[in-house]
């Protein structure tokens, strides 16, 4: 076992994640407020809000680590709203968790609920009751991309922390530091390219860096190659097929995307939305607006629980019809 430990590697997003609040280099104001909770050994319910990859979940784990020590995970129930099947599952897990003993010197345990904004408002109402019911022995940390999607009664019961997008120099400094730890050769322009491509999402930036390093020296070309490989061209091809009037082929592409890449309908429509305004798609501008509006409607229906394939086929059929009209 000891030898396999030496030969084991981790993903850098995990390997270089801060373990303690002291290791977090940005979000200074948030970190200092969280450190107060550690000193006082008490905290209210918390709501961490902000874009993906800005350190919300990491901060929650660091906080728990600093409160309970190395084995903090036994005092924390980790739930992810987008993986759990409904509020009933969440309720029974919380109930089970709250029943067990609390650690000696901290008078509460933590329920960490990630991607809480993926819950319907009905489920959030049920969650609010849970928070009240177990408030004597547990604290909730809710994590969300969009705080406005969290219902008012929950927001008012939580201390809200707004995580801001990471600054370019912070991201690049971190990537540089990791690259040096790993003894990876890199061009500084490549790190800048990673920042641009990752849209301020640190986890994504680190993933790109690691994949590029696996190929060889981290250059701008390597970075673009990696991102190109990870993000299939099929979405664009699918749009172009539909616009050329070939609905059936476009539909086949859609199936490939959903099955081979395991994309959900929402993933696909979001990627479509990104492509609509790209100049790679030849289309008069007024149609881009019409199509974007339609994409929005389809995304809304999917979020509401409509069928992925039927809705996306309806979208592609509309594109094919528009494509035909443009050709005439």
């Amino acid at each position: 076992m000891s030898s396999s430990k030496v030969l084991a590697e981790l993903l850098w997003a995990e390997k270089y994640r801060p373990r303690s609040l002291d290791e977090i280099v940005n979000q200074e104001e948030i970190v200092s407020r969280l450190k107060k909770f550690v000193q006082e050994k008490n905290m209210p319910h918390l709501l961490f809000a902000g874009p993906p990859g800005t350190g919300k979940t990491t901060a929650a784990h660091c906080l728990a680590h600093d409160l309970y020590g190395e084995n903090y995970r036994q005092y924390m129930l980790e739930l992810n709203a987008s993986d759990e099947r409904g509020i009933d599952v969440i309720r029974s897990k919380v109930k089970e968790f709250a029943r067990t003993r609390i650690p000696g010197n901290i008078p509460f345990k933590i329920v960490l609920l990630d991607e809480a904004d993926n819950m319907t408002s009905d489920a959030q109402q049920a969650l609010r009751r849970l928070m009240e019911m177990y408030t004597a022995t547990t604290r909730f940390i809710l994590i969300a991309n969009y705080p406005s999607k969290i219902i008012e009664p929950i927001q008012s019961r939580c201390a809200v922390f707004r995580f801001t997008p990471l600054k370019k120099e912070d991201v690049i400094a971190r990537l540089k530091w990791i690259a040096e730890q790993e003894k990876v050769e890199y061009d500084i322009e490549a790190l800048e390219a990673i920042y641009e491509l990752s849209e301020g999402d640190m986890r994504r930036a680190i993933n790109i860096l690691q994949a590029a390093a696996a190929i060889g020296k981290v250059t701008v070309d390597a970075v673009y190659k990696v991102v190109g490989l990870a993000h299939p061209k099929e979405v664009r091809q699918m749009i172009n097929l539909a616009l050329s009037g070939n609905f059936t082929e476009a539909r086949n592409k859609l199936r490939q995307l959903m099955i081979n890449y395991g994309l959900s309908g929402v993933d696909v429509i979001k990627q479509i939305h990104k492509e609509i305004f790209s100049q790679e798609i030849k289309l008069p501008d007024e149609y881009r607006i019409i199509i974007a509006d339609l994409a929005g409607e389809i995304q809304f229906r999917l979020v509401e629980g409509a069928d992925d394939e039927i809705q996306l086929n309806a979208f592609l059929a509309r594109l094919a019809f528009i494509g035909k009209k443009l050709k005439v």
Partner: protein, 423 residues
Amino acid sequence: MTRRLPWIIKYRPKRVADVINQEQAKKTFLQWLESWLKGKPSKKAALLYGPAGCGKTSLVEAAAREHGLEVVEMNASDFRRKQDIERIAKVAATQRSLFARGKIILLDEVDGISGMADRGAVDAILHLIETTRYPVVMTANNPWDQKLRPIREASLLIPFKRLTERDVVIALKRICSAEKIECDEKALREIARRSEGDLRSAINDLQAIAEGYGKVTLELVRMLSTYRNRQYAPFEALKNLFNAKYIFQAKNAVSQADVDYETMMIWINEHIPTYYDDPEEIWRAYEALSRADVYLGRIKRTGNWSLLPYVFEMMGPGVAFARKIYRYKWKAFRSPQRLQLLAQTKRSREIREGIARALAPSLLTSRRRVKTDVIPYLKIIFEKNPKYAAKIAIGYGLTEEMIRWLAGPNARQVLQYYRKYKK
């Protein structure tokens, strides 16, 4: 996919003599038609009635062909639209020129027009009969409905017999020898028995089996009849849906089918481009289907079942009337690829889920996010750098199956390192 002609069209009777076993009806009809051509019809319209698939429309077409007449077919439900009434009335009232061909105005399935909504249709038909200069022929399965009374009174009624099993077998045999397919006599008798005298459905069954299996045996026919209630039922329902002439037929096709509506939706979703070629038709059909899906979703979320009729209206008539023109369509049986693909890729999806499960807790994120944001990069590492990949596999306790899935063509190399390091 080659475009095959439906056999019910390919083997339509070309001559009156080919119409099977309706001697009395033929005689009456031909006499009436000839009286028209001489200019002195006793009644200006004829109403041909009898069970489905017994040869009513076939006789009209064969007779028209023999007399060099053109059949102008009119869907009776079109009578609701004013411009259609005017169009057909104009055609019917125009004096026949010396050189133009004569015409027969055919209104198929007039019993499809429904009471209140179509009150105007009955009046329009009566007006047409009054003013026409050409023979008007109508068909119906059941002419005895109260609302058709005025039409019955204005028409010569010509009854058609239900075909016997023997009649159906003879017709099927003829097709078998023309198509040069091996047909077991017992099998044909079984098809005939189940058709209950409906030659059209018997021919459709024959074609489904013959094209699916290259031969027609008793076992295959029996299998088809057990299929009917399961895999075959949606196919049947689709055929009824896309060939519906009236709203109520399209609605019945989905609401009374032997299939639950979610399965039905999957089938419609699959086959809209099978039945439609025109981008506008495809778009309109999907638009309707997607609305049905939205209503169904709302029902499921709110438990408000009073919305169910809208689901049926959108997925039934909404899809059927996306077409620009009506024509009968026959398509070969093909089950939805979506179901096949899901079955084929089940293992692959399970492996992906397993990887997500292994990684999500240590990456502090959801399995969904691992799938979209992490696995694509992991795959690059596994495909490009076997040594490093093997170490990561050990770091996260991935199985050999997961390694194979991630590394694809590079799997052997990764596994070599993996086994070496593991020791």
